[in-house]
Symmetry: C2
Subunit: 244 residues, 2 copies
Amino acid sequence: MSDIGSAKVRLYVEQPLGQGQSVPLTRDQAHYLFSVMRMGVGDVVLAFDGASGEWLARVAESGKRGGTLVCESQTRPLQMPPDLWLLFAPIKKARTDFIVEKAAELGAARICPVQTAFTNAERIRQDRLQAHAVEAAEQCGGTYVPEVCNLQKLDTVLADWPEGRRLMFCDEALVGAGRSLGDAPRGPWAILIGPEGGFSGAERDRLRALPFAHPVSLGPRVLRADTAAVAALTVWQQALGDWT
Amino acid sequence: MSDIGSAKVRLYVEQPLGQGQSVPLTRDQAHYLFSVMRMGVGDVVLAFDGASGEWLARVAESGKRGGTLVCESQTRPLQMPPDLWLLFAPIKKARTDFIVEKAAELGAARICPVQTAFTNAERIRQDRLQAHAVEAAEQCGGTYVPEVCNLQKLDTVLADWPEGRRLMFCDEALVGAGRSLGDAPRGPWAILIGPEGGFSGAERDRLRALPFAHPVSLGPRVLRADTAAVAALTVWQQALGDWT
């Protein structure tokens, strides 16, 4: 029970990790490790805090309501995603959860639900979506967890747009007419995915007029919003991200 | 109620469509149109049969157990996807459904569940997966429905491999080492996505030795099988398909 190969659980913890560091477990984590996974003192997990890479950590204390891990050695360095935000209009619950999971897996640095003219959602459960991003990072071997922002109006986001960040704007009305990302500059970017009903005429006009916006086509078929999110993240990572 | 803009329903039908053609409705279709959508005689739908494009069709008869449409005019020509097959190892039900839906949306011509060494699924519900492909085509404006094959062993599929078809093989062990599709030839292709547990050593050796196989990397993160399927379809469509 002593090496990395025997660690069957990856755990995101909020406490900073480091050599010899003690890490208190939350009640939920203790329940998962000791009741669900039937682990005990001496067993090892892989832990990451989103900032210090991945660590082999051994259970030093176990209890029904808590426990302690002790970090033994770093198993992987921190791997930051590129400086890419995903902006998307929330859709039905399962598909919104899916978008957050996939954005975390595919390496978005920040996930921002935005309210557009045709967005049905009035609010989101930010805590629930953040938990999905954590779980996706735990599952896919990530050492970083993207921040899930609170729901903001698209108008507000565009009005406060940070200087120097480019926007890849995927619009189904662009079928066959979008630009390629092939010669676009690297640096901070965001991807914007519209809601199932598309953007309103006013939104589309505004987006097209933005000097930092790059309209991109995702092929000749109309894609659902969740498909478009995964396809757009793939297109961007291939052209400008860390896939090459 | 006479033009294409008022058609709120897209319907896949098995009967061949054409000018003036009468189309009998199944019991399920009649229930959907007349009970769920509360349509009646004179209302219009968009219908496609997977071979004749999309047609504006008007309800001529409506009943509880059936009804008839009459084709009035073709609204879109048939758009065939590229000659691309998606081979994937079935995973949990919801994620398998998702892969089929996304493959139909992203333009795969055939969807083939394959049993690998580490595939848990002993069988699939081919009829249910085919229905998902139909629903995805109805939703996304497609005029073609990819065929969902029955579950076959990967070994059998590879032993019967059709001459001239290339295989894009996505293996998480390839991180950073895959070839690019940039200069690969167009023509018939298949994408192969492994199960959550990856390929076995023997499978990997066999796949790598195949003269028609192109190993491709999907970036530095480990992707879930369903994410990998969408990302791989996107990469292929961009490089060799109909997105350009």
